[in-house]
Homo-oligomer: 628 residues x 2
Amino acid sequence: MNSLHPARRPKCIATVCLSGTLPEKLEAAAAAGFDGVEIFENDLLNFDGSPARVRQMAAELGLAIMLYQPFRDFEAMPGELLARNLARAERKFDVMAELGVEMVLVCSNVQDIAIDDPARSADDLRQMAEAAARRGLRVGYEALAWGRHTRTWRQAWQIVRQADHPALGLILDSFHTLSLGDTLDGIHDVPADKLFFVQFADAPKLSMDVLSWSRHHRNFPGQGDLPVTDFARDLLAAGYTGPLSLEVFNDEFRSAPARLTALDGMRSLRWLESEAGGAELPAAAQFEGVDFLEFAVDAAAGRELETRLRALGFILAGHHRSKAVDLYRQGGVNVILNMEQDSAASEHFQLHGPSVCAIGLKVDDAERAMTRARELCAQEWRGPVGPTERSIPALRAPDGTLLYLIDDREADRSIYESDFVLHPGVQDDAAGWASIDHVAQALPAHRLDSFVLFYRAVFGMHAEAVQEIADPYGLVKSRAMVSPDRNVRIPLNVSESGRTATGRFITAYAGSGVHHIAFRTERLFETIEAIDRGAACLQHVPENYYDDVAARLGLDDALLTRLHDDGLLYDRDPHGDFLHAYTEPFRERFFFELVQRNGYLGYGAANAAVRMAVQAQLSRGATTSADH
Amino acid sequence: MNSLHPARRPKCIATVCLSGTLPEKLEAAAAAGFDGVEIFENDLLNFDGSPARVRQMAAELGLAIMLYQPFRDFEAMPGELLARNLARAERKFDVMAELGVEMVLVCSNVQDIAIDDPARSADDLRQMAEAAARRGLRVGYEALAWGRHTRTWRQAWQIVRQADHPALGLILDSFHTLSLGDTLDGIHDVPADKLFFVQFADAPKLSMDVLSWSRHHRNFPGQGDLPVTDFARDLLAAGYTGPLSLEVFNDEFRSAPARLTALDGMRSLRWLESEAGGAELPAAAQFEGVDFLEFAVDAAAGRELETRLRALGFILAGHHRSKAVDLYRQGGVNVILNMEQDSAASEHFQLHGPSVCAIGLKVDDAERAMTRARELCAQEWRGPVGPTERSIPALRAPDGTLLYLIDDREADRSIYESDFVLHPGVQDDAAGWASIDHVAQALPAHRLDSFVLFYRAVFGMHAEAVQEIADPYGLVKSRAMVSPDRNVRIPLNVSESGRTATGRFITAYAGSGVHHIAFRTERLFETIEAIDRGAACLQHVPENYYDDVAARLGLDDALLTRLHDDGLLYDRDPHGDFLHAYTEPFRERFFFELVQRNGYLGYGAANAAVRMAVQAQLSRGATTSADH
């Protein structure tokens, strides 16, 4: 058994995880801090340079070549094919010698003609190992989940054990084991020095054949749904001391910028190693909720947004001590409008127009959370701070939004008291807003895995199940990231279509960012009375919606009439019910949602289609009038 | 039994097939010539207008509302739920009366609590049918492939038969039957007047759970892999006389322009009805090969392309009688360069730059083929014709490329003799080009189904299996459309990534079009000797490629040396082998391929990755030098 926190293991990534040419892949892996790479054979074949040149490039970048792969369909072939396969192996050993790589991955035979005879497989692999050993090389044998006869690591281990050659060992792959619903139970029976190499991949749970699932939908640990951390924990407990490597086949990774993918890979492995008890990371933050939202605006957008906020019951609560920044407040909700020139906010405004540029998150220990974030490759941010103002640790979310981590433990006053001149004695809780319920982000579809990993690893959030929502112009998928105590909720919305609400946002906004913010009250009917509903809320919920919700959920007439008259939407889950309404979008950038959740856990996905239909209508209206 | 060719059946489409708001969907269905629509309930719920308003819109567009759907989870529920469900049905009957639709679709119950008791299901459905009949309405019962207890049409029929109510009948759906591997065997036992309605959908063969497959990947008959024509034939033979309707859930359809989708739907149903023997269409053309390719160029591009063609052995064979058009020839291959101002070609050039604007296809009977094309909603094209020139029937491919149909049966001379002043006595077969082997088109990924249907329905081509090719910057999928005698081959290439060769083409070309053309010889080594290989062919095939192909296919050294020295690629399938080479891309628009196929049936997909890697390198080189 290892001690719980030994030195960190070398980190490795297979070239097939990354987009581009072989030199581009190597550069990206080195830039993300990997110690080594697996060379995926096709990347070498398509490279117009010798294996020796690849060895030199890797060495110059400080990368070890840790594995050459795959060598396919070798063992237990009929007749004279063994001789041909051994000859083929010798040619690959030539390439490996030139590359300077010591280990080759042999994956279990998938050919129909392969013979179902583990003893024969063992014998063939022993011969290959003997040939490898003569040249100082080693052979790792891996069970493919769809192998012809060898599909589990236990079967592969029986063969390796029987072959009993020092140059032959086992290669494990989390996907091949976990995709079959298998575990590493029994791995302690394998001597640690026979665990030659381990490849990690996660994947979303999909009901499809395992080959297609593997070839197109793998992703990095922390991005999918497989119990990869259990796998890693069992493996380290079994005494594995080799590199932690990533092997992912993913259609989106193939076309994504290699450097971003490599950085996600490094974040994934560091998180995985910590979750598996192989290295220590500071614990994730305990969240106490969303403390404030900050909008980047110019003077005109600021006035327009102020009108919207006042309609929702907000009042001006103070001015920043040193910057052109206003604080609006209502009950437990703080909204900051930042009009400061030459600031991070003004840069954000130039790029995206009026929009959320920062989110303040209340945490138990900001320093600990920042240390964890730094170790998980998050980008820290520091802005200018006035003399009496508080310096608040901040990092960038993957969409560039600033995330401030606010921790009042050692402060004698709140950040609002330290940084703002507050208007005393203002009554600011008439509308009854209790908190910011959720902050939804829209992002391009291919970025979802990356965002999920960020919030899961850096902040310890849970990824909820993907919801599918039918926008009139295409499908929108939504996956909420939620802090363990549920007081920070960040739904992530993606759409393959550019014509949906999400797609239109990404075009208008020129990237990914916050596209809606939900304020929560414990008594929505009273809140609606207290605010300027006509100015605040989206009208035109179709009558047909109420007819259906009444038939579907069997609502009593009094509630139905009340919902209908106030233009509210309604949903119910096993935990409780949910009342909500929306505002009109603010210049195709964002909108507000008004919610009351009585134990309900979701986000009203059942009503999203009707909301999107109304918003699409409004947006078409706006486009049409703009055209005239 | 019906006669073989009765009057055509009414055509219907479910609103869920089409993108947009309900009014947009109705307009698209009417514009494509549909007789009616199924109203999918959510489209009504999200519409801000009464059911009566929908009835009026449909009537104004000449559309009947043929079905209201779905009504879910009705039958065989425990306890007091039947009463609640009957009350729910009454509310939907109110909506149907206002809509003016006579039939509702009840799909089989999927709830875990549903009781496994066909007699109970029959009893419940009889009560609902009785309630419907009181209002002059009818109920159609459909088995969902993933229903809790009722999954096949035979089970649904036993329930309908037992209920024995005139207002209750069966609704069939080709997807629900075919996705289970089931057929309509035994459908003759169902009285024709109990076959209330039929919905058609096709789908690609995917190994995934049937619910996800159904919700996201259905497509129109002729776009997928299911035996939908057998299903339709069995159905018509059983005496079904109702509408042919389409019900497709497809993520890409949800965001595609509704009018294009509706037109594809109409093409699909007309083709299906004909294939099923329910209506007659002229037979598809018998192809005799690709007769010519026409490039739209300006003077400069024309000179550059001429240089390329001369390097490949082509010579100038003639000038057009009335237009600025040149004919280049080599063996059996004709290439036309069109520089005519104010022509279809010059329009094409304005839009796409130098590129293929027309393809001449040799057919047995051009008039018959054109009549078929017209009936299948293809767009006919007529250009200006000089006094002694031949008028050639033409239509537009889905990418706008003109397809000329050439039929020399009644002509006393070829189109080259009638339209061109030929240079007599020119020796033009030195290079040994025998024919145009294939013409590949690149298209946006979401257009593939539409293109497949066009070539399959209009030209009777087969769709080959999808090949996946790893471009360094993303996945490319290729599906070849091939005429029955294999002398016209049109590979269709798509990529979700904008960074692949296919993606870069679509950006540079501003749309879909021809991106490579393969010339075929029976003796490639000799052809290579006869042409200017240095100018014509792509150099830099990596050495690593030859090392691998030798190890993988066990090539003898003489062949290997020859391939290597000539820079040729090699592949093999069970039918024969394949030698090929590529030219450098012409301004990111297209390239030529040089092929010899000795019985081989494919397109060298195994070598596409290495070709794309070299081309990506060239393209990066071009970009990089342009940057300096």
